[in-house]
């Protein structure tokens, strides 16, 4: 565990970047530092690898003051990823990644083998190994930055806005990749961002800092969204925190209905029976994939006109998606019903906005009860 113990950083010009900050950063989890520009996130991160020395207070790594070991030994045990990757333009991708193993005295061959292994791990094609950084896209360069930080298998990874310079699509890819790598490697990651959505998506724990370098709240993202500590955190979370909070509730418990679902091949009797069930019917193809909605009157057995069906919106997968995705599907659907599918995209049922609303209320009650229990203990 990294313990930041009442740390203050005052720069020589008098700026107080961090003010009596205390944080316990859990092992093998992603802790995100988030806050407005200039609130001291980078300063805090850089105090952990002693790129910046605290003015007061101390930082402990597994109970030992980080000043007790030589600074370069400390740094080699912590991967460091910065915003623009900071690759060495005169070295090939492979040699960039091999940097820390080489510093640790590994042989060239062993370091390069390890680097090649890491390229695969971060999703880089090994054909890029002999290229130079200028021949890579921004997203690829950032992957190299992550691979370089992981090369000597350090237990700790420090990341300062690593994905903020790439476009949103690439950023999402990099975030998903980081979560996947973290699942496999279980590093202790400290991740700095000013993007609250990124913080909520990646963080096991999120520390919100306010200007002047003071801690506003330190909590898991779901708790941050449901119970912001004060109006600063609430404002920082943004207007739609209620909706975003739904990302933390699984859609798995939604009660799905199958009666309003009919296949294009359905016979007249089935159609007539289903017409009773709901004001709209969802038509699927013969494999069970959704085609679109229709009023029961518009359907003739054996002669469904696919072009006249209403768009079914974006389906959600109860097994993996959240209530947010289910609600989104329902809100975007012309009928107000969301379509649930399995992993292969086959319809498993439909659910109305009303039912989703009830599930949301139930989830909120559950959370409130849990936190009351926790508070009572």
């Amino acid at each position: 565990m990294i313990r930041i113990d009442s740390v203050t950083k005052r720069y020589p010009d008098g700026t107080v970047a961090v003010d009596r900050l205390s944080l316990d950063i859990p092992d093998r989890a992603i802790t995100v530092l988030v806050g407005p520009s200039g609130c001291g996130k980078t300063t805090t991160l850089r105090m952990i690898n002693r790129m910046v020395e605290p003015s007061e207070g101390s930082i402990l790594l597994d109970g030992r003051d980080i000043r007790q070991q030589p600074v370069n030994t400390l740094r080699r045990s912590m991967g460091y990823v910065i915003q623009n990757a900071g690759l060495f333009q005169h070295r090939t991708i492979l040699d960039n990644i091999a940097t820390v193993p080489r510093l640790l005295g590994w042989s060239k061959q062993k370091a390069r083998d390890r680097a090649a292994e890491l390229m695969a791990r971060v999703g880089l094609d090994t054909s890029l190994a002999k290229r130079y950084p200028y021949q890579l896209s921004g997203g690829q360069q950032q992957r190299v930055g992550v691979a370089r930080a992981l090369a000597a298998d350090p237990p700790v990874l420090l990341m300062d806005e690593p994905f903020s310079a790439v476009d949103p699509v690439v950023r999402k890819g990099l975030q998903d990749e980081l979560l996947r790598i973290q699942d496999e490697l279980g590093k202790t990651i400290v991740f700095v961002t000013h993007d609250i959505d990124e913080a909520v998506k990646l963080g096991t724990m999120v520390a919100v800092l306010r200007t002047g370098g003071r801690l506003a709240q330190f909590a898991p993202p779901a708790e941050l969204l449901s119970a912001p500590a004060d109006s600063f955190v609430e404002d920082f979370l943004g207007a739609d925190r209620g909706i975003r909070r739904l990302s933390f509730f699984s859609a798995g418990s939604l009660e799905l209905q199958t009666a309003p679902v009919v296949s294009v091949d359905a016979d007249a009797a089935t159609l007539a029976a289903r017409a009773e069930a709901a004001p709209y019917l969802l038509v699927t193809d013969s494999d069970g994939r959704p085609l679109g909605w229709s009023e029961p009157d518009g359907l003739t057995a054996g002669a469904v006109d696919r072009d006249r069906l209403l768009d079914h919106g974006r389906p959600f997968a109860p097994a993996t998606d959240s209530l947010r995705a289910a609600l989104d599907g329902a809100v975007l659907s012309p009928t107000g019903w969301a379509v649930a599918v399995d992993g292969e995209g086959r319809v498993v049922g439909v659910v109305s906005q009303q039912v989703i609303g009830e599930a949301i209320r139930a989830a909120h009650t559950r959370v409130a009860r849990d936190s009351a229990v926790k508070a009572a203990r």
Binding site: R75, I82, T99, Y134, A149
Partner: protein, 222 residues
């Protein structure tokens, strides 16, 4: 008679290709003086430029030294050194080195200063010692500019090394000075042509050195 005729006459005279005053001897003397002066200047200018550039301090002092160095007339310095020290290599080397240090020093300083700070930050953050940060991260990226400083210095040395002849030493300056004294304009033009040729050859050498020493990753992106 024009310059080309002078040159042709000089180079086609077989006696100019042998002996103490022959072209091969004078040329190799000139190259030797120039190389020595360049090595001295680089031994001073490179380390000081690299270290001051790395720590980002002393820029103003360097600018001052550079201006002073450029303002000093090489020939004046030579005469002064000659009066002070007498004949020999030293009074020749001092003006040449003084002439060559400023471009090496200032360009090297600027080259290191202008290296993108983020790889340097990343290198430190990974636990690279300062000496390696300078030699393995900053220098390879600064190298094209550092070489251009050395090239400027080398060209200036080659053209100024002619002054060695004033203190009775050899080199290509001999042809120019003796030629002027003897009113032998073939010699003057031939000597000047050889100096110009040597300067061009220096350019080629530095071009080749840059091709060999600068990483393709730096060359293409720079």
């Amino acid at each position: 008679m024009n310059v080309l005729h002078f040159a042709q006459a000089f180079f086609s005279d077989g006696s100019h290709w042998h002996g103490r005053d022959g072209i091969p001897t004078r040329l190799s003397e000139h190259v030797k003086y120039s190389l020595e002066a360049l090595l001295f200047a680089a031994a001073v200018g490179l380390p000081v430029g690299l270290v001051t550039g790395h720590y980002g301090r002393g820029g103003n002092a360097l600018a001052l030294i550079a201006t002073a160095g450029r303002a000093l007339p090489s020939f004046g310095l030579l005469v002064l050194m000659f009066i002070w020290i007498g004949f020999g290599m030293v009074p020749v080397m001092i003006p040449l080195v003084v002439l060559a240090v400023p471009p090496i020093l200032v360009t090297t300083y600027e080259a290191v200063r202008s290296v993108d700070p983020s790889p340097v930050d990343a290198a430190r953050g990974m636990g690279m010692p300062e000496s390696r940060v300078l030699l393995q991260v900053e220098l390879p990226v600064a190298l094209p500019l550092v070489l251009s400083g050395l090239r400027t210095a080398a060209i200036q040395i080659v053209s100024t090394a002619t002054i060695a002849a004033y203190v009775s030493l050899g080199g290509l300056g001999r042809y120019i000075i003796d030629g002027l004294y003897q009113r032998d304009y073939e010699k003057v033009v031939g000597g000047a042509g050889l100096v110009a040729g040597l300067a061009l050859a220096t350019l080629v050498v530095f071009w080749a050195a840059a091709r060999l020493a600068v990483s393709p990753g730096v060359r293409r992106s720079g």
